[in-house]
Symmetry: D2
Subunit: 104 residues, 4 copies
């Protein structure tokens, strides 16, 4: 788990929005558990799960956007100064792997 | 939202397993919120979200399996008696629509 | 790979529609290859790939719908006669596994 | 459809690999059409479609990787020179939207 000191973790811009969204998702998951406990109709529960999937996708996109506009853009600016592309390449690989896991 | 009295909502077989899984997912969502609050590295957060996506898919599959093996199979047995296929067709449409929402 | 003689492979109802759709998807894939060869803008190519994903999802849903309304419903009707649920259970497992692979 | 003259469409590095992959996907789609035409078992066809989905995901990831490592990194280097972040922001938005369409 990399802790890169030199680049700012910039989803802090969207931090409040992300936390609000995640709080809502937590409530949706609790709602689904309640529906299962009350033995609601499966199809209705599946519809709620689709809504959670969509909400999680939005959180992922928010994080990716922040990652690219800060971590990768900062690394690119640095490497434009130093001529060393290794950090950028590493960040891009890491990001592609993360998107690959989301697409699965 | 249909409440069909005559067919049993049979995910009750898996109810405990589903509730346990959903409890775990709720904890994972809370964990992601904590990571955002602590400004952890975006990529590590995205990895956690991929794990939540996978866990939600398993819940969906469990519900679908129960839906087909009970609601649809019961409806099919009924319609084999009565010769009326309308209920089965309706249940299948409903299920296909639900899977379509999950695939999105 | 099961070849079940006793249940009809009933997507033959939608066969023409499925074949037409698949012909269109084949053309879309060829179009994407042409865009890559012409070095079109990545984002525009990704948009085309999203359209192919959506078209493939529709084919999958069509096949699933046929599978449930025929293979599974026929098996359910049989098992209502014979009292033997093993075939239904096997078909449902098989279907759940297939949906699981689509969700990945 | 943007045609940005000043940044290189750099998936040209992976061009041969992408074209080879797309050629294979085209063949897989044709194979699925043949299976439908021969009325093969639905579940087996769905398994093939899952393989096509996975192959398309790999193409998408390859294109995204190239997009970020070239278009976005070049734009970032430029904006480090000029102090103008607008182009980077636009590229990142465009990329996030493209990933959003893939996640659906």
């Amino acid at each position: 788990m990399p802790t890169d000191e030199h680049v700012n973790h910039a989803y802090t811009t969207n931090k409040d929005a992300l936390l609000k969204r995640l709080g809502r998702i937590e409530g949706q998951v609790r709602g689904v558990a309640r529906m299962v406990d009350d033995e609601k109709y499966c199809i209705d529960i599946l519809t709620q799960i689709s809504a959670i999937n969509a909400a999680l996708h939005k959180v992922s996109l928010g994080l990716l956007e922040d990652h690219v506009s800060h971590c990768i853009v900062d690394a690119a600016a640095q490497s434009a100064d130093t001529g060393d592309n290794a950090i950028v390449a590493e960040k891009v690989d890491e990001m592609t792997a993360a998107i690959g896991r989301l697409l699965r």
